[in-house]
Symmetry: C2
Subunit: 155 residues, 2 copies
């Protein structure tokens, strides 16, 4: 099973980029991981919805066929780290080949992305930057694999 992490644009904060690299390098012991940094167009005069549509189109187009889509969105349900680990185990048991975790742009996800979601997940009631959500995600993925492996990891 390969984890697909399509990121809209580069990670801006260098410390977050460093953290993402650290967790990704640890994750590689457990799982195949593919980060794609995607470029989106920004046209003058586009409103927020048009920008979201473009971002959504680019996100979805980046995914291999038959990818399970886990969409991170404020409207999603929250899971404990253990339930998140169990969800990943289920994907593996079901023989899924590609699982993508989709983080939206500055104004959230396009309707097209939300409609195509297999799972809709929220990390917190609080709002975080894109960059920060990337860091949370890779940390929770790493935590999930250590939970699955029954290994000890810091609380």
């Amino acid at each position: 099973m390969r984890i697909e992490l399509p990121f809209l644009g580069k990670t801006k904060n260098s410390f977050i980029d460093q953290g993402i690299k650290e967790y990704c390098s640890r994750l590689k012991h457990y799982s195949s991981l593919h980060i794609h940094v995607l470029k989106t167009k920004m046209k003058k005069g586009w409103n927020e919805e048009q920008q979201r549509c473009e971002e959504g189109r680019v996100l979805l187009a980046s995914l291999p066929q038959a990818t399970v889509k886990v969409v991170l969105d404020a409207g999603g349900g929250q899971l404990s780290s253990e339930a998140f680990a169990a969800l990943i185990s289920r994907f593996e048991q079901d023989g899924r080949k590609h699982i993508a975790f989709l983080i939206g742009g500055p104004t959230g996800h396009a309707t097209e992305v939300l409609d195509s979601a297999d799972h809709l997940i929220s990390f917190s009631k609080m709002t975080f930057t894109h960059d920060m959500v990337r860091l949370f995600l890779v940390e929770q993925l790493y935590r999930a694999y250590t939970i699955k492996a029954g290994e000890k990891y810091h609380k």
Copy 2:
């Protein structure tokens, strides 16, 4: 009003330490901030509860008199970033001099700390490392002040 951030031990991950420093330096434009890095004893043979008690004692002893205690704990309620900003505004309006945000040790907070909490807050249903919770906290404090000031900040 001064924000007190008593941290149990140093931040281990260098990228998180860098992130905390960045947000703290931004926060200083809005508020007085005091990070105390606290040392706790660890005695051989202590069980988890004894360790928590020691950590709780050190945390509480570090605070100035009449400090409002906001305790971060899995059992707390979640707030949106806007509600978190409103809570901080209320402390200011009430003329509070010191507000502390308390992050527990590896096995959580001592009963003494939980019992003394003025507010009990949880950031997420997921479990994060101490270090990561520190980073969330300073980012959300910074976000709270930009919300209060009506300023634009990345989503």
